[in-house]
Subunit: 425 residues, 2 copies
């Protein structure tokens, strides 16, 4: 049931985000009735369409690059290559291979009156994805939404508009070839920033917003959205080395948590270490990290042990460095560690290294974070590492999805109550 109102080649007709959201809402009703195999077929067909239209996609990308005046790092994120197009296509096929999250019976029980109650996973409806200039995000996000039975409204960065449209055209070809509504994936008609505001306030039409980008984008979305948002503004992650930690394990974990990749949200930004072990262990940890080029911001107690460490300020402990910089604070036990995290943390991921199970339990119960690690690196906060397959992001809110957001987290549920004619007394 290809939707004839969807313009050929996915170049959107000039219409408002509200019009598009209405069309997406209609498509979502059809998707909610679609089968797992239809949705997987659409993903496979979209992957083929991406490969077949690789030349057109690269041409569109060249137009974006020619018009862009951005810096090199930005241009690199904006740039598509044959390899990156192939990676997008393979990504859609990997998503198709995931188990179907829709229709799963999450809970089931019976009542004394014979009613059977089932909690069943269902699609959310219409998901708005706002992203910056990495064009592949459009394909990944659309793939995850289709897999989970959701229609998606895409609003990419203005500098990647031509690339995004070419990718969108391929996604719609896949949907058309699988007999699903092309309106299941729609894209903002132009670079007008007004479309973002429209999407954020389209309550009743858009059910969920997922911003993919820097902190300022995410914070704007969280501030202005009138619909639920899944996102994280920052990942100010802590690793706490408790006095009962195995020293070799603590050194290995802190080194990995900070230095494996310094630019990801799961990277540790602050080391908290118990006074009881700091004099022995802190110099070793610092040496391990310094050897890999890490620099430090240390509190007074840490500098009493290592006077050469640069002094850290309040502001430093509140800073997500996303760089080879580590805040260091010496604490006196788990409660002081929890106080520090309550004050400076971002509810993303914290870790404790200890051999003491009671202390670990107290730490895990004491943080409000979405993910808490015991004797493991904070860098494991990742959909792939959790076994979710592809992820659309990390959520630090308290509701619905927390931590990695995969296809299962793009579903909600309904209660199905099955009777045999029961009426309520």
């Amino acid at each position: 049931m290809a939707d004839t109102r969807a313009p050929a080649q996915g170049v959107p007709s000039p219409c408002s985000m509200h019009d598009l959201a209405h069309r997406a809402r209609l498509a979502a009703r059809t998707l909610a009735q679609s089968s797992s195999s239809e949705r997987d077929k659409a993903l496979w067909a979209a992957a083929s369409a991406l490969r077949e239209s690789a030349a057109a996609i690269l041409q569109a990308n060249a137009r974006d690059l020619a018009a862009s005046t951005a810096n090199d790092a930005f241009r690199d994120r904006l740039t598509l290559t044959p390899e990156r197009v192939e990676a997008m296509a393979r990504g859609l096929e990997d998503i198709a291979d995931l188990p179907d999250p829709v229709g799963q019976v999450l809970e089931e029980w019976s009542r004394p009156n014979g009613l059977r109650i089932r909690k069943v996973a269902t699609a959310v409806g219409v998901i708005g994805v706002i992203y910056e200039s990495r064009p592949n995000v459009g394909a990944d996000a659309a793939g995850l939404c289709i897999k989970s039975g959701n229609a998606v409204l895409l609003r990419g960065g203005s500098e990647s508009l031509h690339s995004a449209r070419a990718i969108h055209a391929a996604m719609q070809t896949g949907l058309r070839n699988a007999g699903l509504p092309e309106d299941s994936v729609l894209i903002a008609p132009d670079a007008d920033r007004k479309h973002v505001a429209d999407m954020l306030t389209a309550a009743g039409l858009v059910d969920l917003i997922i911003p993919r980008g820097g902190r300022s984008l995410v914070e704007r979305v969280q501030r202005e959205a009138r619909v639920p948002v899944l996102a994280h503004a920052e990942g100010l992650c802590h690793t706490y080395v408790h006095s009962a930690a195995d020293h070799a394990m603590a050194r290995r974990i802190v080194l990995n948590a900070k230095m494996r990749r310094v630019g990801i949200c799961g990277a540790t930004e602050t080391l908290l270490i118990d006074a009881a072990v700091a004099s022995v262990l802190l110099p070793q940890i610092v040496a391990d990290l310094a050897e890999q080029g890490c620099t430090f911001k240390a509190d007074a107690a840490a500098r009493q042990i290592m006077p050469d460490l640069p002094a850290g300020t309040e502001k430093d402990f509140a800073t997500e460095w996303l760089d080879a910089v580590l805040n260091v604070a010496v604490v006196d036990g788990v409660d002081e560690a929890l106080d520090h995290i309550a004050r400076f943390g971002s509810s993303h991921t914290e870790a404790i290294v200890t051999a003491d199970e009671a202390v670990a339990a107290r730490f895990m119960n004491g943080v409000s974070s979405a993910v808490v690690m015991w004797n493991a690196s904070t860098q494991f906060c990742d959909g792939g590492e959790f076994g979710f397959g592809a992820e659309i992001g990390i959520a630090t809110g308290r509701f619905h999805a927390r931590g990695p957001v995969g296809v299962e987290q793009l579903t909600t549920f309904r209660y199905e109550v099955i009777g045999s004619g029961q009426v309520r007394p």
Copy 2:
């Protein structure tokens, strides 16, 4: 660890909702570490305190009633009696008897690298409850929040201020006697409407808002809140009688779904009936309901069968009557029924009566409602009927909790990742 900053007898010191929210946030951190038995002890102690201070509560209530100029229905909701105080106390004891929702392992799995991942139920944090002038709501809401390990910020109706304070004092006595922070239950210092706006915008301090009251209150909260809201603005519930319905069952269910209690949100407001059976079945259903005093708003097709039925307008089909009035529309099959519900429904509860399992499945997959009944009355949408024990309300949003909201629905979760020193490659 009674919080000495909490004023004696729970008469709040003159301070802003933000100050109160800060204090609640601190109390929530202690509650998150509290044991099930400590929280149950607080509920039992609060029940005793309510009984012991019954005289003071009734005195305070008399002051509210003396000052009130409201109509009789409102005064009845505002009025407390010895029986109503006892019912509040028993309600707290019933909540204490529920299983502890906090700390439950919701999911658990292992990864090839040996990491164990546990999804564990946790308290939400600070819950804001905004209610109108039924004073017992304060005790019920506080009880449900304490049971689920949450601190609660109460803002009752201005006309019940003295009653609410007296009840609040008893709740704090219970917390004090159980050694939990009195700030776990806090109440707006006075009737200033500004406190509502403060609560709605206290992002970062209040994690969740639950409005208990009429549609205008709920819609204001949903419109203005900057934090998640669990509520339903209305319950415009539909019962669809399919052509393959057992006639006796259909008559029994429609009669109960509309007339058992016409004023509750799970009452059916609109009957959708297949043309194939309407000519035989509709007159019988109408006769059943008319006998109990129900009146009707019928569409053209229904009036062709029963010309004496009053004509219903678009506006009627969009109206939640909460009264002995039933909208009636004849449809041509399940898809027309789904179109009608998509247009007029409120995502609360819908029911289908049919012996055809495939049609039932199509109906259940086709509605976006939180609860869908097959061969049962829509009036079963209730926490007690679901087996949740006490409920704080019904949620029609798509996220976190949908349908009845009990203590389990007042929890969120965290991922606990348990390693043996794993670092990420």
